[in-house]
């Protein structure tokens, strides 16, 4: 306790308001080295065999990086080769303030036992704490603290037995710091110097981020961009109103154009247009920038041109041209506020996936990297592996964008695999959609029970229930194993009215494991009359009543075709596409799952009115129904949108003779009008209604194995029934709310990734199948294209009537219909067309499904039906 220790008390002051904080210095902070016998640590982190083979230092050594080295060279530090690193508290604190992503990464590294990274709390160690001196900047003070700690380690470990050869190496790219360190007798190297000296791993050099010194060497020295304003002037400018702050969003189609979203007070936000390379001034998509509005006479309208950065040009030559924006619409009415970027408030760089465009000069080590995301500029990287990396998807991080450089500078992070491969492309789409998919860390796995694992034989009281627990049916449970579950048990009468609801932790003794199809067969087979089948029929009857009740209340049954791939059992490549077929048993299970979710939602809300995690689905504003309205009108069908019930009823009535698919199409369109359902914390919101399910309250409970929201709901429910205890975070509504925001973000990104994945598999399918001719329906009509849905595959594709290499036929677009007249043929919504589908792989990074019209025949526009290629080679893809 306190008295046994001698504390020296220091205070530090800062800010405008004087803040006095105590700062205790301790002598019980240990060095963490295996060599040391003096420190009383329980376990050590730094090894005796701390040998990384290096030309600079052949003996064992511990590395101490300074803040900038960790900040910029985190890719290097994460490499398995780099071990036995001392991360000082000073460094960690600085990183925490400067970059949240790097902070998270370095903490992950520290938690990985195999990396042997040790955090030394130097600021609270009696012998390594230093006070800031008169006239010393905070940075200089921290540099000195780092040197002091390095020196302490050298001295401290000198006393340890067998540690004579051990060296402490300080890594810093700061010349002054390095020099001072050397003056104190420390071994200090620049990060590159050290990494280049490593004997075993020459490829590590590629991952070095360029330091500012090197950047100057590369560039011509000619200034291409205006200087960014320093942060102090930006802050003053924003305060006085002369500058605006916003999020920079690059255009996907035109690399010389971007918009900045400026969030105003409350809901309103303005969008400012930025055109031309100099005005874009090195901002990258998603950066937070400071910008200045141009005078009104310089305002412009968005250009309609698709303009891709065509790649390596000599710096500076074309720059004049790139500052003039071509293809501006002359229409004055379309003028938008226009501005220029004057400074960067916060960079939002992440590692980008893409491909290397190899330099034309042989043996060159500098190459341009083309990111998969078109909104990201090309990045200049230095690598010696260009030949190996050609045709591969790689990851690159941006290091900086100096004002003399046409492109930002970056470094190679890792290779993902051959472009076009299913595994590689899946990895790319997961990375690009920010879907975390790395293996669970040691820390997480340590919480799992040890295997083999069995239910401890507490008294398992058998409960025979007519109403099976619904989750018993969802999972395909194998045989008669006992499974732990969390059950929601209802007592219902013949009319499916709930008499009593009970929640309990349970052990399921599964009587049978049935797939949806098997269960369906039992229900339908009148010869089967065993207990299981009978109870299935009973459940099915109840489910039908429940569904009817739900629909009466106005629940929507909307369809959107879900695509299923039949995989080749050997190659795991898709061999056939099919839309998912739904059976009665699917609906049965769904009904009980919905009921469980609703019951649980009510229960946790009753118990935790402030912090229940719920899910709501807002009613869409009427304007959302525009497309649906027009579509229905075009076929003389009336769809009412006043309420969910009216909509559901009118959708049911919307039938056209001889066009059975019409109703499905209409429902697909209705789905597109809907709002996104979201998770929220009950204490932070007042509107709980779930529009689609017509339920006053709803949550996600039934799928804890694949959704995190369900896990939280399980925890809340466990507390509510007294089966578990809470932790403070669980009941903090602000933390709950932050979690909901994150869940919603992840959910959105996962949906995008899912769509991208379906697209990828569809592409792989068409790559192996060659050209296909199929029938489809027009789902949307655009100014220059129609969007066609192929029911057989649930596949949506665009038929463009404009293309670069063909003369555009006369197009007339009528917004009212909407209709599009091409030559003399007019396309209406829901028209039946025949298209030929093929894969366009002209751009390896952006392969797409291409559709062309076969029927109706329009001279000069439609194509002749190509010969169906016989299914030739097995689906093996070569980039």
């Amino acid at each position: 306790m306190l008295k046994s220790k001698t504390f020296v008390k220091k205070t530090r002051s800062g800010g405008v308001m004087k803040i006095v904080r105590e700062h205790y210095l301790r002598d019980d902070i240990w060095c963490g080295s295996e060599f040391c016998v003096e420190c009383k640590h329980d376990s050590t982190v730094l090894q005796k065999e701390a040998v990384i083979e290096s030309d600079l230092c052949s003996s064992p050594h511990y590395i101490i990086p300074d803040t900038n080295v960790v900040l910029h060279q985190i890719d290097i530090l994460e490499d398995p080769l780099i071990k036995n690193v001392i991360v000082l508290q000073t460094v960690l604190q600085e990183i925490r303030h400067r970059s949240a992503p790097v902070y998270k990464r370095i903490k992950d590294v520290i938690h990985t036992a195999a990396k042997h990274f040790y955090t030394f709390t130097n600021e609270h160690h009696r012998e390594t704490f230093i006070e800031r001196e008169q006239g010393e900047s905070a940075n200089d003070r921290n540099d000195r603290a780092i040197r002091t700690a390095a020196q302490w380690y050298s001295e401290h470990l000198k006393k340890a037995p067998d540690a004579q050869d051990l060296k402490i190496i300080l890594l810093t790219n700061d010349k002054a710091n390095k020099q001072k360190a050397e003056e104190c007798g420390l071994s200090a190297y620049k990060c590159e110097e050290y990494i280049k000296s490593l004997i075993a791993n020459p490829e590590l050099v590629d991952r070095l981020a360029l330091s500012s010194d090197d950047i100057n060497e590369i560039t011509t020295g000619k200034v291409l961009f205006p200087e960014h304003l320093p942060l102090s002037r930006i802050q003053a400018g924003i305060k006085s109103g002369s500058l605006l702050q916003g999020t920079f969003r690059a255009s996907r189609d035109n690399y010389l154009e971007a918009t900045v979203f400026i969030q105003g007070d409350g809901e309103d936000s303005t969008e400012v247009l930025i055109q031309g390379l100099q005005n874009l001034n090195r901002a990258v998509h998603q950066d937070v920038v400071a910008m200045e509005l141009l005078p009104r006479e310089a305002w412009a309208s968005p250009s309609s041109l698709v303009l891709l950065d065509e790649g390596p040009k000599a710096d500076s030559e074309n720059l004049e041209e790139e500052n003039v924006v071509r293809g501006r619409l002359p229409d004055n009415a379309l003028l938008k506020p226009t501005g220029k970027v004057v400074g960067i408030i916060k960079r939002n760089w992440r590692p980008f996936c893409g491909m290397l465009s190899q330099s034309h000069i042989k043996e060159a080590t500098r190459h341009l990297f083309t990111p998969a995301d078109r909104r990201i500029p090309r990045i200049r990287v230095e690598t010696r592996q260009a030949a190996t990396l050609a045709g591969q998807r790689i990851m690159v991080a941006i290091d900086g964008w100096p004002k003399h450089s046409r492109y930002p500078n970056g470094h190679f992070v890792k290779a993902l695999g051959n472009a076009g491969d299913k595994e590689t492309e899946t990895e790319v789409l997961l990375l690009e959609h920010d879907v975390p998919h790395q293996a669970f860390s040691q820390l997480v796995l340590s919480f799992l029970p040890k295997m083999p694992w069995a239910i401890t034989e507490e008294v398992i009281r058998p409960v025979h229930l007519y109403t099976l627990c619904c989750n018993a049916m969802v999972r395909t449970l194998s045989g008669s194993f006992h499974r732990l579950a969390f059950s929601c048990i209802w007592e219902v009468n013949q009319d499916a009215e709930i008499l009593h609801t009970r929640f309990t932790k349970s052990v399921i003794n599964s009587k049978a494991s049935l797939t949806y199809a098997e269960a369906q067969m039992r229900i339908d087979d009148s010869n089967m009359n065993d207990d299981i089948t009978k109870s299935l029929r009973g459940l099915n009857r109840l489910a039908k009543i429940l569904k009817k009740k739900r629909i009466e209340k106005g629940a929507l049954t909307l369809s959107s075709p879900e695509v299923r791939f039949h995989m080749d059992s050997e190659t795991h490549d898709p061999v056939d596409l099919q839309t998912k077929e739904l059976k009665e048993t699917n609906s049965m299970v769904e009904e009980f799952m919905l009921l469980a979710n609703i019951s649980v939602a009510q229960k946790i809300y009753d118990e935790f009115s402030e912090c229940a995690l719920l899910r709501k689905h807002p009613a869409p504003p009427l304007s959302n129904y525009d497309i649906l309205n027009k579509a229905a009108k075009s076929r003389d069908v009336v769809v009412q949108m006043d309420s969910a019930k009216a909509l559901a009823d009118s959708l049911d009535r919307a039938q056209i003779k001889d066009f059975p698919y019409f109703n499905t199409l209409l429902r697909i369109l209705a789905t597109r009008c809907m709002m996104q359902a979201v998770y929220f914390c009950s204490g932070m919101d007042s509107d709980f209604h779930h529009y689609g399910l017509a339920s006053p309250i709803y949550t996600h409970f039934t799928s804890p194995i694949r959704r995190y929201a369900d896990i939280i709901v399980h925890r809340l429910l466990a507390v509510a029934i007294g089966a578990d205890c809470t932790d403070p975070d669980l009941l903090d509504k602000h933390k709950r709310s932050a979690l909901c925001n994150n869940l919603n973000y992840r959910h959105k990104m996962a949906q995008y990734a899912q769509r991208a994945s379906v697209a990828l598999h569809t592409q792989l399918f068409f790559k192996s199948r060659g050209v296909l001719n199929e029938e489809g329906f027009i789902l949307f009509v655009r100014k220059n294209a129609i969007i066609v849905l192929i029911p057989k595959f649930g596949l949506e594709g665009t038929v463009f009537f404009e293309s670069k290499d063909k003369i555009t036929p006369p197009l007339t677009f009528n917004e009212e219909g909407p209709t599009l007249t091409v030559q003399n043929h007019t396309f209406h919504l829901f028209d039946r067309v025949k298209v030929t589908i093929s894969l366009d792989s002209s751009n390896i990074q952006h392969q797409k499904i291409r559709m062309s019209i076969i029927e109706p025949v329009i001279p000069g526009v439609s194509v002749d039906p190509p010969e169906m290629e016989p299914q030739t080679k097995k689906a093996r893809l070569n980039p």
Binding site: M1, L2, K3, F7, K9, T11, M17, K18, I19, V20, R21, E22, H23, Y24, L25, R26, Q89, Q93, R96, H97, A100, Y103, K107, I110, H111, T119, T121, E123, H124, V719, C725, T726, D727, P728, D729, L731, D732, H734
Partner: protein
């Protein structure tokens, strides 16, 4: 940007303490000679002064007097210069009256009031500098002042605060930790018998965690009790040396 990291992965708090460690305590008794008892305490950067008058006749309205025990009158105030922002603090604002009431309840539980029926004991405490744990510092200072006044108590009353940071119970919170968002508990304990004189919380806490938090606070109170005991013994020694001369 990022807020303060209240507890590092290595288990150190902002100021370098471990979760169960107290701040440095320094105290002196008998700082004023005119009062019957007085004491000054520093717990880290929180500094409090306590003065005790009595027991004496009940002042003001006689009806306040109790026939079987003494009335304890507490007054709490904060010096205008006690926080980083200088504020005029009128007497009797809601926070001060609440604090006065808490102190009254605490000392009614500890002082052997039945020895002094129909009389009154005044306890005045002032926070000179505030850095979290004001209530605790007041209680601890007042305990010393009451002892200095020679008024018998069942035991020392020791108070300490505790709260949760990252699911770890931390004790004797400084201002930055108190404003970190979690629930803060203040607990006053008679350490020898383990009786709790007062528990106070300003936000909700699930009862599952109450025990852990109380346990942490009680352990802290016990170690504070030892510190206070040391202060009293030291004081007695000094006084007896003086009187012996």
């Amino acid at each position: 940007m990022a807020g303060l990291e209240l507890l590092s992965d290595q288990g150190y708090r902002l100021d370098g303490r471990k979760p169960s460690e107290l701040r440095k305590v320094q105290a002196r008794m008998g700082v004023f000679t005119q009062a019957d008892g007085s004491a000054y305490i520093e717990q880290g950067n929180t500094k409090a002064l306590a003065v005790v008058y009595g027991p004496h006749e009940v002042r003001g309205s006689r009806s306040k007097a109790l026939h079987d025990r003494a009335v304890i009158n507490c007054q709490y105030s904060m010096a205008t210069f006690s926080t980083a922002e200088r504020k005029r603090r009128p007497h009797g604002d809601r926070k001060s009256s609440e604090m006065s009431l808490h102190l009254k309840q605490t000392f009614e539980a500890a002082v052997l009031t039945s020895l002094y029926p129909r009389s009154q004991i005044d306890i005045f405490v002032k926070i000179l500098q505030s850095d979290g744990g004001n209530y605790s510092a007041c209680v601890n200072a007042a305990t010393l002042a009451v002892i200095d006044a020679g008024i018998p108590m069942r035991d020392y009353v020791c108070a300490c605060s505790a709260g949760f940071v990252e699911n770890t119970a931390v004790v004797d919170l400084c201002h930055a930790e108190e404003s970190g968002g979690g629930t803060v508990m203040s607990l006053a304990l008679l350490p020898r018998g383990g009786q709790v004189a007062l528990v106070q919380m300003d936000a909700r806490l699930h009862q599952d965690h109450l025990d852990a938090l109380m346990e942490a606070a009680m352990t802290a109170c016990r170690s504070l009790g030892q510190v206070l005991d040391g202060v009293v013994r030291q004081h007695l020694q000094e006084v007896s040396v003086l009187t012996a001369e």
